[in-house]
Amino acid sequence: MSAVLADMPKTDMSKSVAPATTKAIAPSKGGRPWTFYVLAALFACYVIALYGPMFCIYILSFQDIRGGLVFPMKGQSLHWFVDLFTQVRTGDVKGSFDRSIKLAVIVTIITVVVSFLAGLGFRKRFRGDTIVFYMMIGSLVAPGLVLGLGTGLLFQALGLNASWYTSALGAQLSWTLPFGVLVMFAVMSRFNHVWEEAAYDLGANRWQSIRLVMIPVLAPGLVAVALFGFTLSYDEFARSLQTAGSLNTLPLEIWSMTLNVTSPSLYALGTVTTIVSFIVIGASLGTIVLIQKKRGSRAKG
């Protein structure tokens, strides 16, 4: 990104029109305007505020048995992690963890496939596309708790049991799919359809052009959609509350813990969930890098 603006000579903000500059626009070393420093400071403050609180709980989760919810830190041990997975009073953390991961994987797969197809469908206008589009926006902005309650009542009325893999799955999809499709729009707008044209010219049918051209080219975007789907599901709370049935997902478990557990094991749970998230992000980014590398070597070879 050539920071053109950064190379502007200092101009008085009150002058609406500055005399045309004779200075070269090419990026030069140094000569940053004052706004750069202000914005850099703002950015630094934002990042500190973003990470500060979380680092506090990561640190506090490694206290020993005397530990409390606030600083100063009392000793160092893994006591609260053991406590988290062994204590009965903290509920069924392990079970809800398993369920959340499974559910997130199912949601991710469905989100990627359905968003990709919808993205393909929205590339051309068709009769009634606006209705589908607004239905999607509606699903995105509707209060999650209200939708969850409606879904719960619906299942009750139909005589179905609410459970995490039926009603909660659907409730979460009503939230992840609109996100996925919007990301897909942004991804597909960067797809150069010359490649597709070339495929058709070489005699490919539509299915072949999708499978052999579009999917490989759009792969990084599809990974991004998958990452979105996974994290939105793994962290979904409002829509799952009334639809998960008798077995909790992880966020519901955390929620019930916040109401009755006041020990650092809550922080330990935060640390564990963060580690899991990082493993998922690492895997996704690794996948993108691998895809790009493969492509690079193929292009060169």
Partner: protein, 296 residues
């Protein structure tokens, strides 16, 4: 940028093909968005026996009750206050963070790295992130300890945690990312040649901001606004936890109503809130055609 909605090179398609592609999406949205909303709408017209039983019928009693109660107005004012404050802060921070990354960071790899740095906390649990403010803002938290240590205050500040301030802090902490991503996305697409041309034509940096950057980031701002407004207005647990039960919002009152099995009243207030949200989002969508912009 190819216009996505322009004629694509594929063999000409009928409307049927378009519908086939979006049919899986529709098959999820109808049972899990349209139907539940209709159920809630239906329930809002039912009568109740007060014990959680719903008597099918058609009465506007719940709406009358909701619209007549002074509490409703108070709840909406509280919700709108939280929404407005959160929106202003997330917009200002989000806009300038995106602007900094796009226009001030010269190395593209560094810009993307810093951008990812902003998105990482988004991948951890919301509830945990909210709780993480306790060791900082609490009565014995770091901020109070620091201020006491410096002798700025004599008594620990009680206003930091379990207050409206804490609610707004938690919202801004969680939602700024929803502003940064779409604004960053639309800013990154601004052609640098445009800006060079403006400089050549004698525009000041302020003019460039006013006449090029802001108008061209409009779609990102609109998208971010939709995310932030709908999440804050539909939220209840941040308010519940961070205000320590001191404040309420429309949805937290709804949650209490459901808890005491006041389904019709809860449903009526949910329908009203959904209408308000739809009105706000429609206004935003009328100013910016998101679909055109997103698929530019």
């Amino acid at each position: 940028m190819q216009p996505i909605l322009a004629q694509s090179p594929a063999p000409s398609r009928s409307n049927l093909a378009g519908w086939l592609y979006v049919s899986p999406l529709v098959l999820v949205l109808v049972p899990f968005f349209v139907a539940p909303i209709l159920v809630v709408l239906g329930a809002s017209f039912f009568a109740t026996d007060g014990f959680g039983g719903l008597t099918p019928g058609f009465t506007l009693a719940s709406y009358v009750e909701v619209l007549h109660s002074a509490l409703t107005l108070k709840l909406y004012l509280a919700t709108i206050k939280f929404t407005a404050l959160t929106w202003i802060f997330t917009l200002i921070i989000g806009f300038f963070v995106a602007y900094f990354l796009v226009f001030h960071v010269r190395n593209q790899l560094l810009a993307i790295g810093l951008f990812l740095l902003c998105t990482v906390p988004f991948w951890t649990s919301n509830i945990i992130r909210m709780i993480s403010w306790i060791p900082l803002l609490g009565k014995e938290g770091l901020i109070n300890q620091a201020l006491l240590g410096m002798g700025v205050i004599r008594q620990p500040l009680e206003v930091l945690l379990f207050s409206d301030l804490a609610v707004v802090i938690a919202y801004v902490h969680q939602l700024t990312i929803f502003m940064i991503v779409p604004i960053f996305n639309s800013m990154a697409r601004i052609d640098k040649k445009l800006i060079e041309a403006a400089i050549d034509a004698g525009a000041s940096r302020f003019d460039i901001m006013r006449l090029i950057v802001v108008p061209m980031s409009k779609s990102g701002i609109a998208l971010g606004t939709i995310f932030v407004v709908s999440i804050v207005m539909g939220d209840f647990f941040v308010v519940k936890v961070m205000s320590g039960g001191g404040s309420a919002s429309v949805v937290s009152a709804f949650y209490e109503d459901v808890g005491v099995l006041q389904y019709p009243t809860a449903a009526a207030s949910a329908v009203l809130l959904t209408l308000v949200l739809v009105a706000i989002v429609s206004l935003i969508l009328r100013t910016v055609d998101i679909r055109q912009e997103i698929t530019r």
